[in-house]
């Protein structure tokens, strides 16, 4: 797996760019900008589902979600650049593994939202509360993305081999 990722980054030029003088901080900045786009759109939609800014119809706020998807895609690209440029530092890092777990939970939570309650939620008029299931999903979503940020910040402190990870 490590060899495969390294081969990918070296043949595409990602490795050379990331290990140039400013490669890493530039991509880190883009990664955080992507996260803010996600938080500013999906996060605000979640907050509305939880009851903040009730005068805004949910269907209108949902129009911001494509911007959040763009932010997420930016993070997938930049995240892949990190992972493939130093795979040994990421794959065996408990903070990265926890981050992936919370991303997976957020993804399942989103699928659950669109499969079960999205239509009813979008139909919620101004000044009305979102369905109970939608509020629960919004709380899980916000908690998961906060956990993703926290785990992301912890990555640098649990780099192998200087960590206590018992399962890596």
């Amino acid at each position: 797996m490590i060899e495969l990722l390294l081969q990918f980054s070296q043949t595409t030029g990602i490795y050379q760019f990331m290990h140039s003088t400013w490669g890493w901080p530039v991509i880190e900045s883009l990664h955080f900008i992507g996260l803010c786009l996600l938080f500013g759109t999906v996060g605000v939609f979640d907050l509305r589902m939880l009851g903040m800014g009730k005068a805004i119809p949910l269907i209108e706020l949902h129009k911001l979600v494509p911007i959040g998807v763009a932010g997420y895609l930016l993070n997938v690209v930049t995240g892949t650049m990190f992972l493939s440029s130093a795979p040994d530092q990421y794959l065996y890092n408990p903070a990265v593994q926890s981050k992936f777990l919370f991303m997976l939970l957020a993804g399942i939570n989103m699928l659950l939202f669109y499969a079960t309650t999205a239509a009813a939620t979008r139909a919620t008029p101004a000044h009305a509360s979102a369905p109970t299931r939608a509020r629960f999903i919004a709380a899980v979503s916000l908690a998961c993305w906060c956990a993703v940020i926290i785990c992301g910040r912890l990555i640098t402190y649990y780099r192998p081999p200087y960590h206590w990870c018992t399962w890596c």
Partner: protein
Amino acid sequence: MGFVVGINIAISLRLTGFAASIPLAPLRKFYPLHWWCVGLIVLSGIGLLLAYPAKALTNPVFYVKLLALTMALLISRYFQNFLAHPDTTAAHNRLIVKLAFLTFLLWIITITAGRFLAYTNSVLLASRFF
């Protein structure tokens, strides 16, 4: 930081005309959470500054970040007042759109300068000066 920048992006997007059907006035309900998170940023920022004062204070990038952050927050306050008492004259609307675009730029500078701080410091500990 994610909440602060995120809420600002959402409101600025609306002010630039994106998703224009979102009513403006209720967006100010997100500002209390925004200012609580600003408080958290200030507290954690002071903590980090106290831990490594020489590292930040000797780095020009730190002042770029501080300036961009301060300007972005002043514009946030201006937007909050605007949403509470909207002045919809054409000239003022043009100013609001320009400020909303400026906000995007200021947050990008704040984030980028913040990340570059870790890579551009020339001094780590104040003990170097004693």
